[in-house]
Assembly symmetry: C2
Homo-oligomer: 203 residues x 2
């Protein structure tokens, strides 16, 4: 089945916005990259902002499939699953910066004030992905008897760390610095659940 003009435009948005940001991306850029006419663009999207909201949702769906089928869900221990998730995020940092950085983190950075629809779509994407980690974090909190944090807050912090790692990779023009930063996130989680390598509480 040939991809529809709508699908081609959404894929073009994922590529171009991660390369040069949202404001610098024009409707003409998107049409040229997608190989569709401007008429087709406005048939599918009433404005560039409407495309941005759809692109954020498309990003959530695309990445959800990647994460749902990844091997980090396999370990029996919930802490091992969380750490395997962090390793998986690290393994995705490869190739061109625009290919491994985050569409919604990039868009919201500049568009948060101009469009509440775009801002909300970016938040849904970030918070929705974070939510997929909450069950494992809750199980690890229980198993390792850790106080003072909530699954929601730690899940969001994994995303904050990764978003910040992307900013440093862009600024230094070096994916290596992002990998190094995510190493700190992993160490934090290890220390939080197993300071000094303490044993799990046995029920």
């Amino acid at each position: 089945m040939k991809p529809s003009a709508r699908a081609k435009l959404l894929d073009a948005a994922l590529g171009t916005i991660r390369e040069k940001g949202y404001s610098a991306t024009s409707v003409d850029d998107l049409c040229a990259r997608a190989g569709v006419t401007k008429g087709a663009f406005f048939h599918h999207f009433k404005s560039k902002d409407a495309l941005a909201v759809a692109a954020a949702d498309h990003w959530s769906e695309t990445t959800a499939g990647l994460f749902a089928s990844a091997a980090y869900h396999d370990p029996a221990d919930p802490l091992d699953r969380i750490l395997a998730y962090v390793d998986f995020r690290k393994s995705l940092i490869d190739g061109e910066i625009a290919e491994f950085t985050c569409l919604v983190g990039t868009m919201v950075q500049e568009a948060y004030g101009a469009s509440d629809d775009i801002r909300g779509a970016c938040w849904r994407s970030i918070a929705g992905h974070a939510e997929t980690l909450e069950a494992d974090i809750a199980a690890a909190i229980e198993k390792y008897n850790v106080g003072g944090i909530t699954p929601e807050s730690l899940a969001l912090y994994t995303q904050a760390s990764i978003q910040g790692a992307f900013i440093l990779a862009k600024a230094k023009n070096d994916p290596g610095v992002a990998i190094d930063m995510i190493g700190h996130l992993k160490r934090y989680i290890e220390l939080l659940f197993k300071p000094e390598g303490r044993e799990a509480r046995r029920p």
Copy 2:
């Protein structure tokens, strides 16, 4: 002394770019906010990109003064100084999102690929600020006998966490989530240097 047109344009850049990003900020926007003519703009800056580089350097200088004179340098213990720095960063998260978020983190997110001069200026700003933390981190690593991390890497991670916290605040439209995220950074540093509240190594 009246601020010069150049100083007014740089201050306008700090405000407007944090509100709506770099690409969405036009030379006209900056002139209007600064109350100067377009002729004055191009007398001082040969292009919008040249203004961006100067704004990043101006940002570094402005914030350097704020940090150099802050009270977090006062504690005798180096770990206490690092934790006080984190608390200070938390205390700055107040008011409008554009007022407490980071000029260079915002600019580099979109402009990293388009202008190596802007990217480099943003990196100088982030890495230069991180460097001001390295001596305290090195002293804490020595005092608390911590292995496996370098002062440079941990200093950069403080900035990655804070940049990521800003993205979440923008996406959720809630400064509170940034404060919560920086709480995790503080907890990481505490656990790193004092897991289970271990005593400092006495020389």
